[in-house]
């Protein structure tokens, strides 16, 4: 009389074995490599292989001296490699606020949040020495780093580095503007506001 029960148990175990055999994840985890995935095949465990020193990818010869080094005849360039439009400035501002504000803060005075947490304070963009620097100088600092600042050449594309350099100029102008820089009609408004302010 006990035989059928043993039989049922055996059948259930067999069914469970078959069902769990269907739980393999081979399609989920295929043996191919994807970006930043590790690999047991290589000794260092990396799936993404470091390039052989001296490798130049197609289109990345970076032989445009001005665009890629910020220099002209070995000196920091006074000019931009392309015309800076309003869209470039807005892109520059966006990139600046992603990559630069943690230390330089949004006005460029050098009191960003990371500085408040112990990073070496960078000089303000508004000091005379930096106001006199050409845009190529800022491009060079972003490309090669300066002092405690690491380089950002692997994080920001050359074109965007130039746009950031242009936006730094905007910040410098904004912090050192005078009434004479304001268009005449706006100037009248400002002067009115000033008199109203004094009257109160």
């Amino acid at each position: 009389m006990r035989a059928p029960i043993h039989c049922t148990a055996a059948l259930l175990a067999l069914a469970a074995a078959f069902l769990s055999a269907g739980c393999r994840q081979d399609m989920h985890d295929q043996p191919k490599l994807r970006g930043m995935r590790g690999s047991a095949f290589f000794a260092d465990g990396r799936g993404m292989r470091p390039t052989v020193p001296g490798t130049v990818a197609r289109g990345q010869l970076n032989d445009d001296e001005l665009l890629h080094t910020g220099k002209l005849d070995g000196k920091p360039s006074e000019v931009f490699p392309f015309e800076i439009t309003r869209a470039d400035l807005e892109r520059g501002r966006e990139r600046f606020e992603i990559y630069c504000t943690p230390c330089h803060d949004r006005t460029g005075s050098g009191n960003g949040m990371i500085v408040q947490r112990g990073m070496k304070r960078p000089p303000s963009y508004h000091i005379q020495r930096l106001r006199e620097q050409p845009p190529g100088y800022f491009f060079d600092v972003m490309t090669n780093g300066f002092g405690a600042m690491f380089d950002y050449s692997d994080r920001i594309k050359p074109e965007d580095r130039w746009r950031i350099a242009a936006y730094i100029r905007v910040l410098q102008l904004s912090q050192n503007g005078t009434l004479a820089d304001v268009p005449p009609d706006e100037r009248t408004k400002l002067e009115q506001q000033k008199t109203e302010g004094q009257a109160q």
């Binding site: 989920h28 295929q30 191919k32 465990g45 606020e97 992603i98 943690p102 112990g118 690491f150």
Partner: protein, 216 residues
């Protein structure tokens, strides 16, 4: 010839029809339920990492933009995990002695990458591209949740196909203005239906639900 089956098998055979059906139904329900629990989906399960990186500290505490580290999210399929050099940009100066950061310093010294536990891991037969989602007004937090409130990273959504399709069938529920894509605090406004539909039109979003979009 003797009887093969005992008399009791008459009722047992009837009962087994009902019981067999019940057992099968219960088993299916159990499997289906198990698949929606975090035991399988990992939703809400904070994953241990070495070092224990906190998005909450870096994003909400320090105000660092997503793209400072995930540099390729706007132009590539993969958002990108930062190189150790990115960590060291600050940590060569800040918390330089902290034992918790020794793995980072070691990685930088030895040129051996840090090994993170992948939290959002799609099956390999799914092709997903961050750049197109970001470019069309799908914000980080729509899929990843409020990362700026996560001390250790967890999965906010199942990443199941049903979940993908819930948006692909009707993106207007979730699409937000492009300038809010990286805003962690954005929540759908009261008129999201109306605004979402307008954005879907403006951004020329065409809902893709054919198989080959993700399974190519």
């Amino acid at each position: 010839m003797a009887q093969i089956f005992h008399k009791s098998f008459n009722s047992l055979s009837k009962v087994s029809i009902v019981v067999g059906g019940l057992v099968a139904a219960t088993a299916l329900t159990l499997v289906a339920t198990a698949n929606t629990t975090s035991w399988i989906t990992y939703v809400g399960v904070a994953r241990e990492q070495t070092p224990p990186f906190s998005h909450k500290h870096h994003v909400a505490g320090l105000g660092i933009d997503c793209r400072y580290c995930h540099t390729t999210v706007e132009e590539a399929g993969f958002a990108g995990i930062p190189a150790t050099k990115t960590c060291m940009t600050c940590h060569s100066q800040v918390w330089t002695e902290a034992p918790i950061l020794e793995p980072v310093r070691e990685s930088y010294r030895t040129d051996k990458p840090l090994e993170w536990v992948r939290v959002h891991d799609l099956p390999d037969f799914v092709y997903f591209d961050h750049s197109i989602h970001v470019a069309k007004g799908v914000g980080c937090s729509t899929c990843h949740g409020q990362v700026d409130q996560m001390p250790l990273m967890w999965r906010e959504n199942t990443l199941n196909m049903t979940w993908c399709l819930s948006c692909h069938r009707d993106p207007a529920q979730f699409v937000r203005p492009k300038d809010k894509v990286f805003d962690m605090t954005w929540t759908p406004p009261a008129n999201q239906r109306e605004q979402g539909e307008a954005l879907v039109r403006d951004y020329h979003i065409t809902s893709k639900t054919n198989c080959g979009v993700c399974h190519r």
